[in-house]
Structure formats: structure tokens, C-alpha cells
Symmetry: none
């Protein structure tokens, strides 16, 4: 997937860029609308992440021009909490979704996926692995028939694992993906959450295995 990230804040831009790149996407970054226009003219993107307040104008102008030009690349708007009233008008202008800063990366990823899903005809997306089924819409985890109630963070963490089973995630990577860029939690938090998830997975084939010195991975016992 090819992303265009239009954002003037370097710190945030780099964080998002790192995250999406890590996920295997290609990301171009434009710090202002002018650059964004140049990118758009030459490249076809799968998704545009658009900030509202930019040095050379308002992201909504860009959005409006984008839609009136009949381009239909999905757009997700990144908006600050103070711009609350904008959030809705932005949908009117043709944005596919918006996300309020500061946001967790996992939430950004979830919204990107949701938008893509909606675009491609709205297939349901249950994740299955061994005897566990994860339903991101209902926010539930089913372990061989028994439905387990997950809390917010547990859910987000498990989502990461089940999206790429058998892949090893380092604790630092998990911290990055689980927490927003302005929060820094210790890696011990990850250990704690893995512990909690393990409790929920008791009796299941699917288990979170620790790979000493490297991280954790979801795999079948």
C-alpha cells in the first residue's frame, strides 16, 4: 500500500512514517499542500493522511479540490481536539474518516483498514487462528466457543499478534504500536499485558510464546 502523509509537524510525521513503513507500506511525506499537490500529480496513492492546519493553507481546501477533481483516493483527516467542529464538516467535504490527535498508532491502522474494507465492498473481517476467533467489530475474542471479554489495551495488543501470527514482535515495537507518540510506557507494561492475555487464552491452542531476548509471538501449541 502506498500512503501520502500530509503533515507539517516533523515529530508526528516521522512517527507515523516509521510505523507505516514498519508495516510494510510505502509512505511519501509532504510537509505542506504545495508538495502534496506535486506528489498527487505524479503518483497514485492508496490512501491519503491529511492534516488540517498546514503552513500554506487549510487541508480542507485540498480535500475539496481533491473531490471536485473526481479523484477518489480515500482520505483520512488528522485533526486536533480543538478543531472539534471541523471533524464533521470534514466528512462532508468527502473525507472517509478522521482521527483525533494524539492518537494511538494501532487506532490509525485500524481506521486505515476499516476505510479500505469499506471501499472494497465491506467484507467482514474475522481473524481466525487455531481455535480463537477475533472480531474487531464486536471487539470480542472467542476461544473455542467461550467468549472472552477483553479490555481496550488487551484487545489492541491481541490485534497486532493475530494480524501476523508466528511473527516475533519486540517489546519496543509493541510499545510503539500500542501507545500514542506522546506517551512513553515502559516495556514492562507489555510484559504485564502479555500476562493478562495469556490468562484469557488459557486452554486455547493459540498461545503467546516468549522468544527470549527478541520478543513475543503468537503461535499454535
Amino acid at each position: 500500500m502506498r500512503y501520502l502523509l500530509v503533515e507539517d509537524n516533523d515529530q508526528l510525521a516521522n512517527a507515523v512514517l516509521d510505523r507505516l513503513t514498519l508495516d510494510g507500506h510505502v509512505v511519501d511525506r509532504a510537509p505542506d499542500l504545495g508538495t502534496a499537490d506535486d506528489f498527487i500529480a505524479t503518483t497514485e496513492y492508496d490512501m491519503i493522511l491529511l492534516d488540517i492546519m498546514l503552513p500554506d493553507g487549510d487541508g480542507r481546501q485540498f480535500l475539496q479540490a481533491h473531490r471536485t477533481a473526481q479523484r477518489n483516493t480515500p482520505v483520512i483527516v488528522l485533526t486536533a481536539r480543538s478543531e472539534v467542529s471541523d471533524r464533521v464538516s470534514v466528512l462532508d467535504l468527502g473525507a472517509d474518516d478522521y482521527i483525533v490527535k494524539p492518537f494511538d498508532f494501532s487506532e490509525l491502522e485500524a481506521r486505515c483498514r476499516a476505510v479500505q474494507r469499506r471501499r472494497s465492498g465491506g467484507a467482514s473481517n474475522l481473524h481466525k487462528y487455531g481455535d480463537v476467533v477475533f472480531d474487531p467489530l464486536a471487539c470480542t475474542l472467542t476461544v473455542n466457543g467461550r467468549e472472552v471479554r477483553l479490555r481496550n489495551r488487551e484487545l489492541r495488543l491481541f490485534e497486532i499478534f493475530i494480524a501476523a501470527p508466528d511473527q516475533v514482535f519486540s517489546k519496543s515495537k509493541l510499545v510503539d504500536r500500542l501507545f500514542s507518540y506522546d506517551v512513553d510506557a515502559s516495556e514492562n507494561a507489555i510484559e504485564v499485558y502479555v500476562g493478562r492475555l495469556r490468562k484469557h487464552l488459557e486452554g486455547a491452542q493459540a498461545q503467546i510464546v516468549t522468544v527470549r531476548g527478541l520478543g513475543y509471538r503468537l503461535s499454535l501449541s
Copy 2:
């Protein structure tokens, strides 16, 4: 949602059955028209998936009988590519949609949803969930016999929930769907309305449960 699947091919039937069950639906399977008639006589379905070529007759006979008997359960016909000319006549006979084998499950799901949507936009559309019946036209909610009149906002909110039971809706999403763009209500308003709906749902199986940090969902207790 309760499905009746009329299909003689075991392999296909099982695949569809598994998928729909995973999605949380209840599915009965009939391998022929005789069995299907038996099921229909005893159970009320939300959707019928109907094969054309069946060991004891033609699915179109079934469809025609179904419609002349004034039953209005939606029907989606599963047809093979060779039966192209049938596809049209099938709609004439009262099918709501058709899908050509082999099909993707996600496409099947999408069409089921589309048909349901179309249905609920139309004339009589009572939503039932557990022991509550919701009539959006009469603005009433019937909780095991007791009829409750809902106010405007309560109605619109409940409509969202019952259209997708078990799905978690975040407060911000609900604010978006409930309020027009020029009104910016706080998320607390949602909490208040959920509280009011809960009062109305007292004693019912169906409950609005809060998923802390994520939102609310309608589900059976």
C-alpha cells in the same frame, strides 16, 4: 439473523454454513425442497439462500410458491454460471438478489447485508432482537409485552444499535451519526441517552452494555 440454506452440494453447503455461523448467525440447512418446506413451516427466517437445481425439483417452484403464499422473507438465489438466462427470471419470480457460483463468501455476506438494508428501508420493518421489538415507524419499543414510546433522539440511537447488534460503536461515532453537522454535542450526551434507553430496556434480555474505553454495544444478557 437466522438463515435457511437450501443447497444439495455438501461441500458448498458446509462452507457457507461455517462462514455464516462464524459471523454469529444461526443457519439451518435443507438439502432439498421437501426439507426446506418443513423448515419454513416451523421457523421464521430472516433470509433464505436458495439453490436452483435440487434433487427433488426446481428452486424456482419453491420461490414462486413462497411468494404466492405472501411470505416475504428475503431470498437470495445461488445460481451456476450456465444458468445465465435464469438469473433474470429468478428476480421476476420475487428473488431479492442472485449470486453466481462460484462466489466469494465476502460477496455473499455483502449481498445479504445489502438485501437486508434494502428491506429495512422499505415498508414494514420491525426489528426484533431477543425479547424486544422495535418499530421505527411507530416510534415504539416493545419489551416483552410492555410498549414504550421513544423520543426522537432515543429512537435514532436505538436504531443504530439494533441495525448491528453486538457491534461496538464508539461515542464519537455515535455523536457523528446522531447529530447534524452544525450541532456539536458532547459525548456525555451519548452517555445520557444510553442511560435513558437503559431505563426503557429494564427487564429485557437485550441490553446496552458499555465496553469501557471503546463504546457501547447492544447484546443479549
